[in-house]
Amino acid sequence: MKIRVKLFAMLRERAGTGDAFQEIPEGSTVKDLWDKLRRDHAGLSGVEMKLLYAVNSEYVALDHRLADGDEVAFIPPVSGG
């Protein structure tokens, strides 16, 4: 499946990109995608902060199953205001 990955703030800086496509196997979850990103980007492997996850702009749980064409956002602790 082809997934669009959005990274923000510190995650974006650590990965060196905020917007990329990833190929992942059928049936993958948000967690599978995150594990893959951490393997691919050394800068993400040390991330320990609590993240939130959004698929197509809706918050989801880490075990949410992805579909082809999904946009997945990894959301570090927000600090707007």
Partner: protein, 148 residues
């Protein structure tokens, strides 16, 4: 009106939007960038957002406020990009027939925005920068950037 902007936020525009002859009260909240945080002098501030989802979450919490209180209209605008010290990073305006509803809905909106609208603030000090909310125990300055 739920919006991101990279230009100065115009309070009068929000007030015009929420104004209504049937609404006797309007409460606003204006968040401005400060020149210091926990004793450290701030040189500059930058905001980043997840466009699309940020506006959607703002609209959602506006709808929640409408369910909880009798409000006439709400407007919420967050600035992104570099925000000079002392300028507004966020403005919320709520009109209502009665002030109790206006105050409570406005307070709810800013509290919830800070909890869940996907927007991030980076503070730059002399010698380093920090993404607020993402600080770790190690007290990093500029994090290393790894190429993709």
């Amino acid at each position: 009106m739920y919006r991101l902007t990279d230009k100065p936020i115009e309070l009068n525009e929000l007030l015009a939007f929420v104004g209504d002859p049937a609404a006797g009260a309007a409460a606003t909240f204006i968040g401005t960038t400060r020149d210091n945080n926990e004793g450290r002098s701030i040189l500059s501030l930058d905001y980043e957002a997840y466009p699309g989802m940020a506006e959607q979450e703002m609209a959602r919490l506006g709808e929640e406020a409408e369910e909880k209180w009798q409000i006439t209209r709400m407007a919420m605008v967050h600035r992104i990009g570099n925000v000079p010290i002392g300028e507004a990073s966020v403005i919320i305006a709520v009109s209502a027939p009665h002030r109790d509803d206006a105050f409570k809905a406005c307070r709810y909106a800013i509290d919830e925005l800070k909890k869940r609208v996907p927007i991030w603030k980076k503070e730059t000090y002399r010698g380093g920068e920090v993404w607020i909310g993402s600080q770790t125990g190690e007290r990093f300055t500029t994090p290393p950037t790894i190429g993709s």
